[in-house]
Amino acid sequence: MTLIDRASKAGHQAEVYRIRRKAVHVRLHEGELSLVAHRDRSACALRVIHDGRLGASFAESPSQDGLLEDASAAARFGQGVSFAFASALSLAASDAGFNPKTADLTAGDLIDVAVGVRDRITASVPGAAVNLVCEAASGERSVETTEGAAAEEAFSRVTLGVEVPFAAGGGGAAGRRISVGPEEVPDAWLEELIERSSWGAAPSVPSTGRLPVLLSPYASSLLTQTLAACLGSGSVSKGASPLAEKVGQQILSERLTMREDPTHAGHPYARAFDDEGVAVKPRTVIENGVLQGFLTDLAGAEDLGTSSTGNALRRTMFSQKIEDAPVPNWLGAIIEPGEQPWRELMAGIEEGILVTRTAGLHSCNLLQGQYAVQASGFHIRDGQPIGYLERVMLAGNVFEDFRAVRAVSREQEVTADAEMEVAGLAPYILLDSAQVTVG
């Protein structure tokens, strides 16, 4: 008898979430092979509703002893809910995020890729101590409920991360590619990485004060993570979000339009259903800076008196285990592109900074929109990078600084968050100014 059948027989509504992840990973440190790793893990999370109360349990497999009994015991004191688990999906599960070739990749294949990339870089930068990781991951994810939902989809990802050290030390130019299946690494991508490593010939100290800030696609997490905190139904329904009453109002620059679309075929982390088995669907969340709606899961939708938008994710910034309860998040945040090439945006900066990475956002008051992060990247003067940033802190308020956006680039890049297992697309964003403080 399956776990769902046993739960049903016990008079429970039940939801079984299962995931299996397999991966092979190779790492080159300073140009030399340093690690070969394999992973084969499975996990099963059970939620039951009994007499209107919710309980949960977790184990490695649905056959592990005590899984149903633990969830039943928890439900005796659990959350009072009136929502039902997902019913049969209106959208068939797809394999949009899966390429079978990825599952066939071996450690030997990945070593060949890694060594090939290293050799192409050192052909241009002789002696460069390149750090590199290459990983092929694949698996299956499923949600089954007593209400009739039964969806399963496969996923796969090939990730290549490369760091080319700056000549002056103090870090390096880092790039990451992520795709559903194996792909050639384009010359242009490697050439840009090598060019950026040459910008790090020396550190350069910008002025302290409000400066123009060009955020690279990965640094746009300042915006997406803040919005995830403020648009999630948990903070909205409790009135803690400053955006709770601002649907239909201008909250960001009119140059910013953000869509939620986890369905992109061939896109890493593409999916047909969220972690509660609710079908995901593309929609616009912010249109020309005007807020259109929130991100909800089943419980949050119940609180707001709406239906789930299919944004439940069993991962948070602080925990990447599926044993955590689903919470609303972006599953495929897409920031729409603009008109100009990003290099033109940089060329128009008299003095400012190009931010490629930030650190410390998790310790900021995201609900307030407040951020104070350490910025990595490059100091720009007269439109040119003149050195890498050291001891630079970037601070301000998202809802003020992203109101004054000078331009958005026409290029978009994939912004995958491997910990959260979500991906999106983002352009370069040029803020009119933000507070830059040099220590």
């Binding site: 092979l33 070969v36 109360r53 184990a59 030390g169 302290t208 044993e323 650190a359 410390g360």
Partner: protein
């Protein structure tokens, strides 16, 4: 279980291999805005293998104990294959063979407390918070975990060890107009359930701070002298120096290898820092690490000079330094990494009043709201007060601090005669299969004064 693991390694054609398996039992309860948001009982388990052949290393994780032998064989084969690729040789430092069990003993075992009692304790704390005007969101979490861990290697070590920990973490969000601020309440971090009860006074203090914080303006950005309270200083030493004491980071960063050589002058002469997993029943306390090496106290900074660093057997061999027993994984599904245990700044001689009186224009920053380490580090304060003319002034919000490790440690000009350790602390560190979050870690410090540090905030 350790004998079963030992058997899984028999006959492998490798230079060295080890294997771990964890079985854990966790209870988590979350209350939010007066109702139960989570009531869950978890039973995660999993294992991990490492194999070394001619200096090549392979690792693998697996889910079921019955898969241990297969995982060991596949990992050994992967290491042999990797050895053919001309890799960077990996060696392991010698470590004594340990063959024993380590049990946990506690006066108030959280496993003996019913779900109902745990729920009611949490409910009573939350009720104090929800009764406060302007509080719009509360989230109070109770968690306990009992883990049985086993380890064996091909050199004869076979250990099993138990871990038991419980804590309560409360987050209270207040909103006054457009101002949204948070207060925190964290107790426990040990095997003793008794540390979780009768802590109302601590929560009331935190709620009073929230009330003041809701009317506070953000900090003004700049470079200032600051006095950091023991919790903030604990986060500071964890983020700013602790992570750079983890030898795997030193090994991979040429600048750190050079500047953190043993004996190098890194801080002011009044600065003394230790890492000590042998402290009784603290968050970062343990008997044996995940390489079967016994935990021990390690001096990291003595009178401002680098006195030691934290090691795995790999990093100790690579740097030619003694093993310290600091190689740990958040659970058996992960590769063990070099991790801190209880990392502490030792007390000095200055009083808090002397520190504040020494500052003409600066900040008093309090509480640790997390951070990120490295040569350049950042950490957030829960709240701060402006210091003007040697006196504490108005409260300010959103004071995040950032600095350069070497400048900042040398800028510590006063160390307080007090000391506090966090009860609850967590930390994430990246590994190939994701960030490993752990709550089995702790930090502590006295008040300290830093002469110049960057405060991220708004422009004046």
């Amino acid at each position: 279980m350790r004998q079963r693991l030992r058997a899984a390694l028999e006959g492998l054609n490798v230079d060295y291999a080890d294997i771990r398996f964890d079985e854990e039992r966790k209870t988590e309860i979350t209350l939010g805005n007066g109702r139960v948001e989570k009531m869950a009982v978890f039973s995660p388990r999993g294992g991990h293998v490492r194999a070394y052949v001619n200096g090549a290393k392979a690792i693998a994780s697996f889910s079921r104990l019955e898969d241990a032998r297969g995982a060991a064989e596949r990992t050994a084969a992967a290491a042999r294959a990797a050895a053919a690729h001309g890799n960077r040789p990996v060696r392991l430092a010698e470590a004594p063979v340990v063959d024993r069990e380590f049990a946990v003993f506690t006066a108030h075992d959280p496993r003996s407390i019913s779900l109902r009692e745990k729920h009611d304790l949490l409910r009573d704390y939350e009720a104090l918070a929800t009764a406060v005007p302007d509080v719009v969101m509360t989230q109070f979490m109770y968690a306990d975990s009992y883990a049985q861990r086993a380890f064996a290697n091909t050199q004869g070590t076979a250990v099993s060890h138990e871990h038991l920990i419980s804590h309560i973490l409360g987050v209270v969000v207040g909103r006054r107009g457009d101002a949204v601020r948070r207060a925190y309440f964290a107790v426990g971090g040990s095997s003793d359930f008794g540390r979780l009860v009768n802590r109302e006074e601590m929560l009331r203090e935190s709620l009073a701070t929230l009330d003041e914080l809701l009317s506070a303006k953000p900090a003004v950005a700049g470079v200032y002298p600051v006095v950091v309270d023991p919790y903030g200083a604990g986060v500071f030493i964890h983020e700013a120096f602790g992570h750079t004491s983890e030898a795997d980071l030193v090994l991979h960063e040429p600048v750190l290898r050079e500047r953190l050589a043993l004996g190098a002058e890194i801080g002011s002469t009044i600065l003394n820092v230790v890492d000590d997993p042998t402290l009784p029943d603290r968050g970062g306390s343990y008997s044996v690490d995940d390489e079967g090496v016994l935990g021990r106290r390690t001096r990291l900074i003595t009178a401002g000079k680098v006195a030691g660093r934290l090691h795995s057997r790999e990093t100790a061999a690579a740097l030619g330094e003694p093993i310290t027993g600091n190689c740990r994984a958040s659970d058996a599904g992960f590769e063990p990494l070099v991790r801190m245990s209880n990392t502490i700044i030792e007390s000095g001689t200055s009083s808090l009043d002397e520190m504040i009186a020494s500052i003409d224009d600066g900040y008093y920053v309090a509480g640790g709201a997390g951070g990120q380490g490295g040569i350049d580090f950042t950490f957030g304060a829960r709240w701060a007060r402006r210091i003007r003319g040697g006196k504490l002034g108005e409260m300010v919000s959103d004071a995040n601090l950032s600095g350069n490790l070497f400048r900042t440690l040398k800028g510590i000009s006063m160390v307080g005669d007090d000391q506090l350790l966090f009860e609850y602390f967590d930390c994430g560190k990246g590994s190939f299969d994701g960030v490993q979050m752990t709550t089995r870690i702790c930090a502590g410090a006295p008040h300290i004064k830093i002469d110049n540090i960057t405060v991220g905030g708004v422009s004046e």
